[in-house]
Assembly symmetry: C2
Homo-oligomer: 150 residues x 2
């Protein structure tokens, strides 16, 4: 899906859910869609402020909450108290490997993994709303880098 199509989908959905489509929301959503995969709220704020220096931090957070609630954006804990976000439209679900050296994030996907999670939940009578699988470790590049520098 192309960025402006995604934008329209989101606009339509939010309008349809009784939200107003403001300049700020449009800017924030556009920026989120256009920014590289995983961004913090603060980074998104900075990006937005390039185009409109008056956008407030609060509005970015509030918009991210709306987008997350609506399922257009997904937040993931970085383990250090912060979160990174990524937009979801047009992306298949995937899990993440997080490099503890350079904080690079590698995405991966394994259908069998998904199925087994569902099966495990079913066994416990647990109803999954969302899930988060993260592998923390050292990415290939950092392994090479560390190997070379020794």
């Amino acid at each position: 899906m192309k960025p402006d199509q995604e934008l329209q989908v989101i606009e339509r959905h939010l309008r349809g859910s009784g939200f107003r489509w403001t300049n700020q929301r449009s800017l924030i959503v556009k920026t989120a869609l256009g920014s590289h995969e995983h961004f913090t709220a603060e980074q998104l704020l900075d990006l937005c402020r390039v185009l409109d220096p008056k956008v407030s931090r609060a509005t970015v957070y509030r918009t991210l909450a709306v987008l997350e609630e609506a399922g257009f954006v997904e937040g993931l804990d970085t383990g250090d108290g912060g979160r990174r976000f990524e937009h979801v439209l047009g992306h298949e679900h995937h899990d993440h490997m997080v490099c503890t050296r350079c904080t690079a994030i590698v995405e991966f996907r394994d259908d069998e993994l998904e199925r087994r999670q569902e099966a495990a939940a079913r066994r416990q009578g647990f109803k999954i709303e969302r899930h988060s699988l993260r592998l923390y470790g050292i990415c290939k590049a950092c392994q090479v880098r560390e190997g070379a520098s020794r």
Copy 2:
């Protein structure tokens, strides 16, 4: 493994790694081992203060960091910015289902799940240090409760 055995293992390990074994550390570790599975830093602090009201918050955090680093304790993001800890000694690795209604935590384990994660990492040349799989949703009890109240 019994609590005092675990305690000794930890004491030995920390001493062996050049750490000092202080009254505070002993108290904090003992309390962590004895407390129910998943506790926040603040809860641990409160528990410790029952026995010694002067223990400081900073020391609890610093000790948790040492224990986590050494692999005796594992922290997991609760998704709302906070973390819960659990001690690991004598427990097999397991994953978690977190109830978004009552915050209950259900543990589960699936060996095939673990194997497939390792396989996925291998494919990317990623070296896993630790990993975290959480399913967020509604636990059985809350489903019953919600079903009943409607």
